[in-house]
Structures are given as C-alpha cells and as structure tokens.
C-alpha cells in the first residue's frame, strides 16, 4: 500500500513536467576512476581525455550533454536499461561487448596495454591483477601460466601489486605510465601487448540515431586534427590517426 502511494506520488510529480523531445539531453556515463581517460578532479567533477572529447563531440553534434558516473561493473546493464544514453569510459570495442551494445567509430587507435610491477616478473608463473570485465582481464585468462586476480576498480589493482598480492598488473599503458613516473616503487616491465580494437562510445543497440551522430562528430574531429591534438595532450605515447 505504502509502495503504491509512494509510486503514485512519484508519478504525479514527474508527470507534471514538460514532455521530452527525443534526446534533448544526452546523459554520458563514465567511470571516473581511470586517469587520464576519465577521473574526478579536485573540484569533484569529471575530468580527463574523455571529458574534453565528450564535450567537444556534444558541441559538434549539437547535443546537450550531462555527465554521470557509474561503477564499471554495472556500467553496461545501466546503459541497456536506459539510466544514461552513452558510455564514454575508455571502453575498448570488442565482439563480446558488441553482442550487448553498439559502438560509435573508435576515437583512439588500438592502445597498447602494459604490465606494471615492483621488480622483474616471471611471466611463465605469475599472478596478474586486472580490473574485472576488461579486455585485460580476459587476456590474462588466456595467458599460459598466469593466474588472474580481479578487482572492481583500477586503483585496487595497483594497490595489490604494491602490497605484493599480485606480481604485476595489466592495464592500458596510458593509465599506467603516469603511475610509473610518479611512483619509484613500480615500473613498467615486459613487452607491451596489443589487445582490443580501439576505444569507442557505447550506445544502446536500438539507438542508431545517437550512434550515427557521435560517429559523424568523431569523423569531423579526425578530419580537422582536433582529435589528434587531444590524444597528444592527454595520452602521450598513444598512436594518433
């Protein structure tokens, strides 16, 4: 009963608001814990490569955008059930994800992933930390002799290596490099690995209109070189277009 009263009250409140037009506001979902792609800055706002990129894409596609943060683990379910309209969270385009959601054209080249460790690592028998449901996690599963140790946030994977819980962490090189630079305890070891097909914006499969708008905006940014400028600024060491 209480339930009913509450829900009708909520319906009445929201029902009285103006009717919405299709995508008058596009809500962009991100993780906010993966610098330099996306992170929360000192002011408590979303910042980083994807913040600048997303704002520019929205301006070009003439969309009003709003930023929302969501935990990585539930970032796809919440997109699919309509809590936001696009994922822009350093998400690589993979066939597995394509079964559930659609992607815009890639806005980075396939980015190298790297290992970060406190010393030399024997990769034939090592515990490798990675963030769960990432391309790196599935890569480690396929590595001979490696044991995968999964964590919900990127930050925890680094902490695990420093605490000796894992021998190395596998993540995007652009994420690991600033850490290796500022922290003398850890460094990048071994060979880079190339996994994934570049990063794209994730949208619902039924939302082809939004996907096409973003793809068009990305193409225009590629054409006039602004995307390359952003990549050089935020992701030094990554390939440009």
């Amino acid at each position: 009963m209480k339930n009913l009263i509450l829900s009708t009250a909520a319906l009445a409140l929201l029902g009285s608001m103006a009717m919405a037009e299709s995508h008058s506001v596009v809500r962009l979902g991100t993780e906010g814990a993966y610098p330099p792609y996306n992170f929360i800055n000192d002011a408590g706002e979303v910042d980083g490569f994807e913040r600048e990129l997303g704002d520019e894409l929205c301006a070009r596609a003439e969309l009003t955008c709003e930023w929302v943060t969501n935990e990585w683990d539930s970032i796809i379910p919440n997109l699919v059930s309509g809590n936001y309209d696009a994922i822009i969270a350093g998400m690589s385009i993979t066939d597995e994800r394509k079964e559930v959601i659609d992607f815009s054209e890639a806005y980075t080249q396939p980015d190298p992933s790297a290992f970060l460790a406190t010393g030399e690592v024997d990769f034939s028998n090592a515990v490798i930390a990675a963030q769960s449901s990432t391309i790196q996690a599935s890569y480690v599963t396929g590595m001979a002799g490696a044991t995968l140790l999964e964590f919900a946030t990127p930050d925890e994977t680094i902490a695990a290596v420093k605490a000796g819980e894992a021998d190395a962490v596998l993540a995007d090189k652009a994420f690991l490099e600033p850490i290796a630079e500022s922290d003398s305890e850890v460094s990048i070891v071994g060979e880079d690995v190339l996994i994934g097909g570049g990063i794209g914006l994730g949208v619902r499969q039924s939302d082809t209109e939004l996907r096409d708008k973003f793809t068009a905006a990305i193409q225009s940014m590629k054409a006039d070189g602004t995307l390359n400028e952003l990549i050089t600024k935020w992701l030094p060491g990554s390939a440009t277009f």
Binding site: M1, K2, N3, L6, S7, A10, L11, L14, G15, M17, A18, M19, A20, E21, S22, H23, S24, V25, R27, A33, P35, P36, F39, I40, N41, D42, A43, G44, E45, D47, G48, T64, E66, V68, T69, N70, E71, S74, P77, N78, V80, S81, G82, N83, D85, V100, I101, T153, D155, I158, A159, K162, P178, I179, E181, S182, D183, R204, Q205, S206
Partner: protein, 278 residues
C-alpha cells in the same frame, strides 16, 4: 592541509555524510511502517491478507541483500516506466524489449531524459529509500510479529473483559505494550541499517564509503594539485571512527527509549524499575 580538506571532492564527501543521515532518517520510519503493516497483516484473521503478510516476510528475508538491490531496483524502475509507457504512449507500436534493450517512449522515461541531474539523483535516492524500507521492513515485521505475541495474554483478556472490541484491544492495549518487546530486535536492525548504507552505491547514490575509496586512492601529480600515495587506510579509519561514534550515540538513545518504554510494564525490567522507585 586545510585547502586539501576543502577541495570540491572533499565537499562531496561531507555532502555524502548528509545523504547517508538523510537516508537513515527517512528509511527508519518508512521501514517501521512497512514492518508494522507486514506484522499486522501476518496476524490478521482474514486469510488472504495473512498470506500476503507471511509471503512478504518470508520472501524478502530469504533473498540476499545484494541480489535484492541489484535486480529488484532495476525491475522496480522498469515497472514504473512500463506503467507510464502504457498510459502516456498508447499508440506506440514497437516492442518495449528490443533484444537487450529496454525501450519506452521518451515521455515515459523516469525521470525524463532532459530533467536536471538533481532530479535523477533524487529519484535514485527515493528508489534507495523504498528498497531499504522493503528489505528492512520485512525484518521489522518479523520482530513486531514476535513482539505482538509476547504481550501477556492476561492483558488482552482483561481488555476483552472490559468489553473492548478487537480493534480497540489491538490499538489501546496490544500496540502500546508491544514496543518494549520489539525494541531490542528493532535496535539490532537499526545498527545493521546504519552499516548497510554502502549498498547505496549499487544504486548509483554516491555514499561516504565510495568517496573514501575515491579520495584515498593514490593520485598522480598530473591529475591533481595534491598528489599522494595510497591513503585509503586513513580515510577508512576516519569512516570507522564515524560509524563507531554514530552507533555509540544510537545505543545511548536506544537505552533511554528502552528505560522510558519499560516504565510501568508487566516485565522483569518494569518490575525492577518499580522496586527501585519504591
């Protein structure tokens, strides 16, 4: 140092403390109301009502909190949107389920896609309150159900002997006396509720534990004015102190309420109070 503690990010954390307190302040009475309704239904003479009450308590108590929070809330949200969809867009022909996607017409979105962020946050918060209330209401219902049965039979018989109707006996004799039996169980629930607030983040509400993890994580100089190593331990230590203080205050308050409720009751503690006064 004082600059560091007053960055926008830290402000968000202090704000989250308010969110948690507000959530508790709204959830506790709502859950109690759910519990009272559930307990009353479970001991009703009218069979269907009794079944509803018993099923509610059994089902909700039996499902793990995390499963409830992950699935029930998304289902609840979609149910609201589906109802609005049927009312507002009767001539919509496309299916609502398109492969993996849940698609309703834009007018049925809850909250509307173009409403400001605070509306989305408030809506998420209300969903959280509702879910917490349903979960903790089921436990409270069981506690109250037990408490209602613990009221001495003699009290109810006396009320009947005075010619009170069933309804009068319930409201005037049973309910005022049951609280003293319910309070130990309810205070337990309150303590568990205080500590359950990190589940909020599953619903997209940023609570203090989320901010402690985010603020405590190592920060590189490229991305912040205040680079530091892994400080999560200190942030969690602060949380620990916060929760301990909070539960301590709760205990003191609950003890006072208990002393008040015991006054004049036909229980051992009530008897002791009478003797001490005499």
């Amino acid at each position: 140092m004082s600059c560091y503690l007053t960055t926008g990010k830290h402000m968000s954390m202090y704000y989250a403390v308010g969110t948690v307190l507000l959530l508790l302040a709204i959830t506790a009475p709502t859950a109690l109301a759910f519990g009272f309704a559930g307990a009353s239904a479970a001991r009703s003479d009218f069979a269907p009502l009794r079944w509803i009450g018993k099923t509610y308590v059994a089902v909700v108590r039996g499902i793990p909190d995390i499963a409830f929070f992950l699935f029930f809330v998304i289902a609840l949200d979609q149910a609201f949107e589906y109802i609005r969809h049927r009312i507002k867009c009767p001539d919509w022909t496309e299916p609502v389920r398109q492969g993996n996607d849940f698609v309703v017409c834009t007018a049925a979105k809850l909250p509307l896609g173009n409403s400001p962020q605070w509306v989305h946050e408030t809506y998420g918060f209300m969903l959280a309150v509702l879910t917490f209330a349903i979960v903790f209401g089921a436990f409270a219902a069981n506690v109250l159900f037990g408490a209602m049965r613990a009221v001495p039979r003699g009290q109810l018989e006396t009320a009947e002997a005075y010619g009170m109707s069933r309804r009068q006996t319930f409201w005037r004799v049973l309910v005022p006396q049951m609280w003293v039996y319910a309070l130990p169980g309810l205070s337990n629930l309150w303590m568990v509720l205080i500590k359950a607030t990190p589940l909020l983040f599953l619903l997209g509400v940023e609570d203090i534990v989320y901010w402690a993890r985010e603020l405590g994580g190592a920060k590189q100089p490229q991305f912040t004015d205040y680079p530091h190593g892994d400080w999560r331990m200190w942030y969690f230590l602060a949380l620990l102190v916060f929760y301990l203080c909070f539960t301590k205050v709760s205990e003191v308050v609950l003890d006072r309420i208990m002393a008040k409720l015991t006054h004049g009751q036909a229980t051992a503690a009530g008897e002791a109070q009478r003797k001490a006064a005499a």
